[in-house]
Amino acid sequence: MFNKILIANRGEIALRILRACRTMGVGAVVAYSEADRDSLAAQLADEAICIGPADARRSYLSAPAIISAAIVTGCDAIHPGYGFLSEDPGFAEVVRAHGLTFIGPPAEVLERFASKEATRRLLGDHGLPTIPGSGMLRDEAHALEEAERIGYPVLLKPSAGGGGKGMRLVRNPRELEAGFKVSGSEAKAGFGDGSLYLEKYLEDNRHVEVQVAIDRFGNAIHMGERDCSVQRRHQKLIEETPSPALTDAARWELADRAVKAVAEAGYENLGTLEFLVDAKGDAYFIEINCRVQVEHPITEMVTGIDMLALQIRIAAGEPLGMTQADVQARGHAIEFRILAEDPAKDFRPQAGQVGAFIAPGGPGVRMDSHLYPGYEVPNDYDSLLGKLSIWAPTRSEAIARADAALRELLVDGVTTNIELHRAILANQVFIDGKVTTNLLDRVGSAPFVAASNR
């Protein structure tokens, strides 16, 4: 096991890693930027070191600053948390070159899974379903033929370009005929290349992700899945497990397939495989996250596994110490991301000084937050103030506990999305477990904001 770990992150995840180190009896040093001098993690840590200015490029994203801090404080491992350098193969490599351990997948594993496109092909070869598509389309007849095979609706996409430019949603053969020539000439004009291909359009999809853990000996487990369909502009707001979108049998089958494929492909450490699930319940692999996720607490709540401790043990070269049969999921858990954003003002990030802060309590209530009264929320980083996670034996009980906890939660001085969460909880679509990733963007947040102002 490690002697001392440098925590190269901030906010609630720095605190979470610090807690894991303490429960494991491992020393910890919190690396912080000047904007985080007064952060809770830096204050609670036995040792903390300033690595640079507020600008993340010169602090949390600076490999030399972080590695130098680890060396001068006598650390033998670096925990990157999530975001920042957590999935950077180059960073993992340099950390190793300095005789330290990167707590995450080894550099060559990060490298292998770095490209989304290559990962889809790799895991497709290992049996995971990916979003169906065509090859390059020769002509209109070919397009019609391929669309028929894939099934409408389909996305007509230019081979060149990117960022959704020139993309066209096509719902039937007539629209495809009409769109084919236009898209082709648009692509030709826009990117100098008129070639097009088709991809299945997953309407009203759900976001379901499988949590896996694999040690360096190839022992692999999954810890079930999480449903992260409550999103706003691709940002997750609420996550829950188990997913209301899938039956128990379908959930475990998906998780089994996912962990088998990724273990065969040579993955190591904690990982999350993200899938889009369509209205029929078919899941398509989209990408893998090679790090601990923001929403890991709900998996911890239902499985009872300390995922950070598990991750640190795997990185230290220890075996998993458990098999799939040891992983039992109990009850239902929901996580709410408490953000410093104003829903009434187009979710603009908010900064300011926290006045009163009251974290809720009660059975099955967990608050992961770096807030304290008087804390100055810097505007240099993301707007996550904390995560409220709720566990209960059933989903409906979890919703009731969540509402009670959200009513207790008080963050004075900074505008938050707490009331928006309560409005979503009260919404029939959420209660029915039918939220799709496009819901908030489609209906807009206005009805929720209005409801939350009652």
């Binding site: 300033c50 200015p53 602090s59 130098s68 001068v72």
Partner: protein, 206 residues
């Protein structure tokens, strides 16, 4: 930082000296009020590193900090320490322009050279207490994974006590060496009729 003469005394009588001091003060005041702000603006707008202007028996030379990275480093460090009264070289230059040439500009409290990075601090080998440094002068390095980053004096002054030992681990922004501001009046009194005396409004490297 006050603009000040760096001329040398050269065996004049007390009366002569007093009269000279008065003339110097007037000249400095005039330079500071009229000439320097214009020169500073000119230098800032230009791509030049140094400007020298002669006026009567006076010569004013303005220099930019030696290199841009150094200037940034010196600037970032004091800003980062909210409680540190030390100023950046960039600010120093501006202050010189608005200085009236007397000692009222002198700030109280300790000024320090701060660490530009997290690593191991090594002072310049010849660094001794009492040594005079200009703003931007290198007074040591911080070894970051084998790459040295310069520790620079944020202001012109005199090296004071060291706050960390050589070879000690330091964090970003850590106060390393005290810089004492020189007594302004005796320095100002050093003017003479000799040619080549100058008003040093420079914040650049020596």
């Amino acid at each position: 930082m006050p603009a000040r003469s760096q001329g040398e005394k050269s065996g004049q009588s007390d009366a002569e000296q007093a009269a000279q001091v008065q003339r110097d003060h007037l000249a400095i005041g005039r330079l500071a009020d009229d000439l320097l702000p214009a020169l500073i603006a000119k230098l800032a707008a230009s791509g030049l590193g140094e400007i020298e202007v002669r006026q009567g028996e006076w010569k004013a030379r303005l220099r930019k900090p030696a290199t841009a990275p150094e200037a940034r480093t010196a600037k970032a460090a004091p800003e980062s320490h909210g409680h540190s009264p030390s100023r950046s070289s960039g600010h120093g230059r501006t202050d010189a322009g608005h200085s009236t040439g007397d000692e009222s500009e002198t700030e109280p409290g300790p000024i320090t050279a701060n660490s530009p990075a997290v690593g191991i601090f090594n002072p310049r080998r010849d660094l001794v207490v009492g040594m005079r440094v200009r703003s931007g002068d290198k007074i040591g390095t911080v070894d970051v994974l084998g790459v040295n980053q310069d520790v620079v004096a944020p202001v012109e002054g005199i090296i004071g006590s060291s706050l960390v030992e050589a070879g000690e681990a330091v964090e970003y922004g850590q106060q390393l060496v005290r810089i004492e501001l020189p007594e302004a009046a005796p320095v100002l009194a050093g003017g003479s009729a000799d040619a080549g005396k100058s008003v040093a409004a420079t914040t650049g490297k020596a």
